[in-house]
Each structure stands twice: as C-alpha cells, then as structure tokens.
Amino acid sequence: MFDIFDIYLLEALVNGVLLGGVFALLALGLNLVFGVIDVVWICYAELIMLGMYGMYFLYAQYDVPFLLAALICIGGVAVLGVVLHIAVIQPLLGTPPINQLLATGGVLFFLQSAATVMFGIDFRNLGIRLPVLEVADMFISYARLLAFGAALAGMVALYLFLARSYTGAAIRAIAQDRQIMPLMGVDSRRIYVITSAIGGALAGLAACLLVLQYDVQPFVGLTFGPITFLICVLGGLGNMIGGFVAAFLFAEIISVSGLYLDLEWGYVFAFGFFVVLMFFRPQGLLARRS
C-alpha cells in the first residue's frame, strides 16, 4: 500500500503540494499583518468570503471579464482591510492584544451575518468548470495549479516589495522594533495602514483563486479559516517562511490521509499533528532554540 510507485499516492502527494500553495497564499496576508501590527485578524477568512462574493457578482452577474473582476476584487478587499484597521484595530492598539483578537471576532460575526442578510444562504458559483489535467495517469486540478502559481507569484512579489522598496524597508523595520522606529522618523500609523491594505489585497487574491474551487456561501470562511490560523501559528506567527513550510506539511497530511480515509479525518490528523508539534516547538516550526 505504501509502494512509492502507487499512482494514487503520487497523485495525492502532487495534489497536496498544490493545496499547500493555496494554504500558503491564505497564510501570507495574515502572517504579514501579524508580523507588522501584532494583531490576529480572526475575521481574515470572512474578508476572503466577501471577496468571493465580489467575484461572483462581478463575473457571473455583471459579465465583467475575469481579470478585471479579479483586480477590482483585490482592490476592494484591500480597502476593506484598511477600513478594518482604522475602525476596529486602531482604537485598540494600546490595549492588551487579546482585545484586538476578540474585536475582530466580533467583525467575523458581523461579516458572516451581513452576508447572510444580504445574499442569503444559497451556494453560488461562477459557473466556470476548469478542465482537469491528466499527467501520466494522474488527475490534477487546473484550478489548484492556478492557485499554486498565483501563490508563488504573490510571495515573490511580496518578498521583492519588502526587500527592495523604501516602504518595504520601513515595514520590516517596524516589525522589528515598534518602539524605536517611530523615533527614527517612521510614521507607524501610515505603515500600519499600508500593511493592512497589502494584507487585504492578499486576501482578495486568495478570494479570486478560491472562488474557482469552492462555492460561495456566508459560512465558507469556516471551512478554511481555522486551518489558516493553525498554519500561521505552526510556522511561528509572523514568520513567513515558517508559514510556507507549515502550509505544505498540513496540505500533505490532509491530502494523503484523505486518500485512505475521509477528508475530515485528514483535518483531524492535521489538527492533532499541530497540537503534538506545539509540545516540541512551541514558538513555531522554524524558531531557533534559545
């Protein structure tokens, strides 16, 4: 059964890598916001849900071309990120961090039920059926391949932005020392707003790709929200490379156990693996031993 040439196992492994790309993309924005502002957006998956609705209405209802719709969506969710930051996070920046987490929990309730009230609880999809690639007897989802590619591109773009641009340097500086950098002339409020916008934009990008794989409904965030948080924690909150590794680990566990058992058991194993690993590496996967 564990023969390496088992075509089903190989297919599961390949699909796991692709799923890992999707997870990595999901974790990217959350990790950035956490690393810089030191805030966990519990409602992150709900921002993605709104982005998916945006795609649905633009593409399926108003016949906007896919790429244009995607751009509008990314911009829209970026604006949502900024609004979230200014309306909810900013007034709470001086209070214990857990208050910020709980307040975004309130936003989670708000967005879920706002979507329920506005759009109803019907499952909606774009009506695009992307072909399934057949490579060497393996079936590989084209939508996942696309998401994987976009995740890689998003990560490279983010890396270049942080490493090369002036604003990127300021963002990294703020992430390293929140007290000193404002004294060095970095406007932390402006940096936080920019970071929230980028975090939102990444959520928007994830939304454009996820809408190809999942039907949209107000509670769709619950299907991938918890796993995104766990990936970020496992990688070490704010540690993007750690998040990347954790995303692929989780995806492989889910994909391979989904092959032998149900998909839910894949999630159970992934969560269990997470708890066990936290015993050994409480500061995250790639934390240096102190």
Partner: protein
C-alpha cells in the same frame, strides 16, 4: 439577618416563579438563560484572569456528545455518563493546557492553540458521522417516552427550571469560592507579570492548570445538561469556533469581572435572539449575529468592563451624597 433578607426574598421569588406563572414559553427561555449563564460563567472563570480560550466549544461538545453517545450505545445513565464526560474534558484540558502553560504560551498563541481544540472536536464529530450523525445532529433516546430520574430526562418545564436554577446557583458559588481563594491571588499575579509571579514563588503552570481544568469540567457539565434538556445537539450548536466566540461575546458584554456579568450577557443574547425571531420570523435569520458582532466590537472598544461591570463601577465610584 437583615443583610440576608433581600437575597432570601430573591431566591424564594426565583424558585416560586414557574409555579405562579405557568406559561411554558417564558419558562423555557428562563431555563435556556440559566443553562447558558452557567456556561458563560464557566468560561469567565478563566477569561477574567486573561486566559482567553477559544477551546470551550470543544469542551462543551465533549460534554454533550460523550454523555449522549454513552446513553444511546452503552445505556450508561447520565449520572455516570456526565462525570465521565467531565473527566474526558478535563483530560483534553490538561493535554492542551499543560504544554501551553509549561512553555509560556500566552495571548494570541494561547487563543489560537485552544481554537485548534474546538476545531478538532468539530471535525471528529463530523468525521464519525456513522455514530454521531455528523452535521445532521444527534438525539439521545427517550427513556420509555417519559420522565425519569435515572435517565435525567424530564418532560415538565418546572422540573428543568429548578434544576437549571440550582446549577446556576452552584456556578455562582464556585466562582465566589474561587474569588476568595489563594488561587485568585496567584492567578491575578500571573496575569500581571508571569516572571515576577514565578519569582515570588507562584507555581505558574500548576495554578493555570487548576483553573483551566475546573473551567473545562464545568463547561462539559453544562454541555451535557444542555443536551439532556434540548434532547438534540448538532456539532455547530455545541462545538466549533462559533460557540467559542459566542461565550466570549456574552461574557464580555455582560461584564467579565463581576460575578453576575455572564448571566446578564446570557439574558441579553437570548432575549435579543428570541425577540428578533418572534417579531420578524425567518426574515430575522442572521440579524441577531449582526447585532452581536457589532455590539462585541463596540463593547471591547468603549465598554471593556461590560454592561453590568460598568454600571456597578459607576454606582460605587459616585461619592456618597452630601447631607
């Protein structure tokens, strides 16, 4: 004696209520308020010391499902099943709590790690759908179609009201005892500064574990009781992130730091839901959570002490009137 008189009168009035006022619907609402108050009080026992857990949905799910499954499959009376379920929750609490406290995982990390617990319980219930009915929900079997002390099933609303009132009183008593114990001082010191508390001789891991296990067992008990009363549970109503956040919401809105705060929170949330449901019917779907979410954000920003907490603080802060 005179000091106790108003409390005695309130207790008598509460006990007598369903016998004077027979309408079953308000009594049903009162029972729900009392059971959920018990649950929110259990959560607030940890939350008030800065241990914000999102895993209590998991403990509640364990309490409800273990009791119901033992009853249906092995015909174990809830009198034994509920303690077993509480034990299971305690084991889960130690499993998740010990590494957290031992390795100083606090704040966001603690909240997200405990979130993993609720997520695991939710997924296990869904994955074992052959036994638990999955997301369709689960019903404990009726015992000979009627009331039975052995099965902890009662048809009369008044019986349930008295039970719920009793356990609610016990929850307040437990909280009162904790407030008066050394545990409280130790935990407050830890909440202020873990290293300083450890240096002063407080065993941080042990003290935190004590309150976590106590809170988890109470939550499991409430989950089991909720199941016995409603005779129907589904993974979404007793476990997962939604229920966990709901506990946070009610406790924060009522007031985390005052004993009756979670009760006020339970009363507000349930009355709000029921009012919306009665006045708008199915058109109200979603509106209650919309209001909750907005209120939670507003309360954390403007009234972090909660409704009752702020009212009490305003009352005590006011200087005595000049004569």
């Amino acid at each position: 004696m005179r000091r106790w008189a108003p409390w005695l009168a309130a207790a008598v009035a509460l006990i007598a209520l369903p016998f004077v006022y027979h309408d079953p619907y308000p009594v049903h609402i009162l029972i729900l308020v009392l059971i959920w108050s018990f649950l929110y009080t259990s959560w607030s026992m940890m939350g008030r010391f800065g241990l914000v857990s999102l895993g209590h949905g998991g403990f509640m799910g364990i309490g409800a499902y273990v009791t119901a499954l033992l009853w249906n499959y092995l015909h174990v009376s809830p009198w034994i099943g509920i303690p077993l379920a509480m034990l299971a929750a305690a084991v889960a609490a130690v499993l998740i709590g010990y590494p957290c406290f031992r390795f100083r995982i606090t704040g966001h990390y603690f909240a997200l790690l405990t979130l993993a617990l609720s997520a695991i319980v939710l997924q296990v219930i869904t994955a074992t759908r052959d036994f638990t009915g999955g997301s369709l929900g689960y019903t404990p079997e009726r015992y000979d179609g009627g009331s039975s002390i052995y099965a902890v099933q009662f048809l009369g609303k008044q019986t349930w009201y008295l039970i719920a009132l009793g356990i609610w009183g016990v929850a307040l008593l437990i909280r009162y005892r904790v407030e008066r114990s050394m545990l409280r001082y130790a935990l407050e010191a830890i909440a202020e500064d873990e290293d300083a508390a450890a240096a002063a001789g407080v065993h941080v891991t042990a003290e935190k574990l004590k309150i976590t296990v106590l809170s988890a067992m109470m939550t499991a008990f409430a989950g089991a009781l909720y199941c016995q009363y409603q005779m129907f549970i589904s993974p979404d109503t007793v476990s997962g992130i939604g229920v966990s956040l709901q506990m946070v919401f009610a406790a924060v809105v009522g007031g985390l730091y005052v004993p009756l705060g979670p009760t006020v929170g339970a009363a507000i949330t349930i009355l709000l839901t029921e009012t919306l449901r009665i006045s708008f019917g199915t058109a109200a779907v979603g509106w209650d959570n919309l209001v909750y979410g907005t209120l939670l954000v507003l309360f954390i920003i403007f009234l972090p002490q909660g409704l009752l907490g702020s009212v009490l603080a305003a009352l005590t802060r006011r200087p005595a009137p000049a004569r």
